[in-house]
Symmetry: C2
Subunit: 255 residues, 2 copies
């Protein structure tokens, strides 16, 4: 018999995971959501039943997938009295939030930030973790149904990955916003640096960014840096960022 | 008769511009370079003559293109005694460095940072400037031979564009380097965030980055921020960047 799963949650990850696992032949036994109407809608989509209360979730299923907001994982975990593996799907929450369950794990599809888009699981990394070696094998087996890129990582690694993602996404996005604002303020077309932006990202995936760093600090071009400092005098926030980032680049070079 | 040009310099921009303009029917009358052998090599490529001293450059040509390092523009400009338009090709140097020449201008192909790659001028923005209105028309005409994306911008605008490019390229590259270093340090594959990096850049070209900012600061997720601060304690440089960038993101949101 194919493994039976309870989907707990009704958002994007819950929906996409439910559809993808069902598509691979797993049996979605039921759906629970804090908002019962959402559970009903997702259950219809998956052609299964919605349950209204957590104590209606069967305790003898193989796998319980908690795909809810980070802040809600602990509460819903505490309500579950089950024997199968209980996993959450969060990138930033420790496995220990599920400590009530001996058979606990993490099943984290390292998806991009896009909301409500269809997730092509085969293209993304799935990061898994378990408190138990046999459960780890089982969770990896499930993950490999969806993707060839399955990786076992600890909660500590996953949390540092999350920090790294803040640098690689949130912070770079903010700096690109500043660049575009500078263009706007100076009556320049805001798409003027778009090719540079795309090439910068592309190159960073091909070589280590530190090894291909360019710019005035790497050239030790003090004149240009002083000129830039002068030009940024009217915006103390941008000036502070310029100074600190320039200093940080300097700490990675020989200058 | 087609306009006659002197190419001053023998580096990548000199070479690519010489080839592209010749290809459009302009007459490359001579090549000068501080290193005479380099001038000879480029002159051979362009099937024209190399001159060894600046006073051998004919003074009655239409256009003198100074495509040398930023720091060398002033010196070579001072050596020229000519009647045609004199332009440099730098993104960060003011037109006033050419003040000896009444007919001065800037012809700046806003290329990406790639060295020695073939430049497809038709795909890139050419930013032009001139001290004289008629010369501006002429320089734009030359630029439009190479690209449809010709834009007249002042030296002040060009210099702010350069600051913006530091934010959009140098600084984002550095942050992606930090992200990759964090992955390395934690024994995670360094390509784990590559999809995110590419999507972040792509999105930034489609919508204003400030309007699509994500992450803990935008969500006002203090718990996650405090967790990240704790995780970065061992690296004061990265911690300072985290704090300042988080604060800066906050200044663009409602929190």
């Amino acid at each position: 018999m194919s493994p039976a799963i309870a989907i707990i949650g009704s958002g994007n990850v819950a929906t996409q995971l439910g559809l993808a696992l069902q598509n691979k032949g797993l049996n979605i036994a039921c759906v629970y959501s804090k908002t019962h109407n959402n559970a009903i809608a997702l259950a219809q989509l998956l052609d299964t039943k919605a349950v209204q209360f957590t104590n209606e979730i069967p305790n003898n299923l193989d796998w319980y997938i908690i795909a809810v907001n980070d802040d809600a994982i602990a509460a819903v975990s505490a309500q579950l009295n089950v024997n199968g593996i209980v996993t959450h799907t969060s990138g930033s929450v420790s496995i220990e939030v599920l400590c009530k369950h001996e058979r606990r794990g993490v099943f984290y599809p390292l998806q991009t930030i896009t909301k409500n888009a269809n997730i092509d699981f085969s293209a993304i990394n799935i990061l898994v973790e378990s408190a138990d070696e046999n459960d780890a094998i089982l969770i990896k087996k499930y993950a490999k149904l969806l993707s060839d890129k399955v990786l076992e990582v600890s909660s500590a690694q996953r949390q540092m990955l999350h920090v790294a993602a803040v640098f690689a996404n949130n912070f770079t996005n903010h700096l690109m916003g500043i660049a575009k604002e500078i263009l706007e303020t100076n009556n320049l077309p805001t798409n003027l640096l778009d090719d540079l932006i795309l090439q910068t990202a592309n190159k960073a995936t091909l070589q280590h960014p530190f090894s291909i760093q360019t710019g005035p600090k790497v050239r030790n071009d003090i004149n240009t840096i002083n000129k830039h400092i002068e030009l940024l005098q009217s915006n103390s926030d941008y000036l502070r960022l310029y100074l600190l980032l320039t200093e940080s680049i300097g700490s990675k070079t020989n200058h």
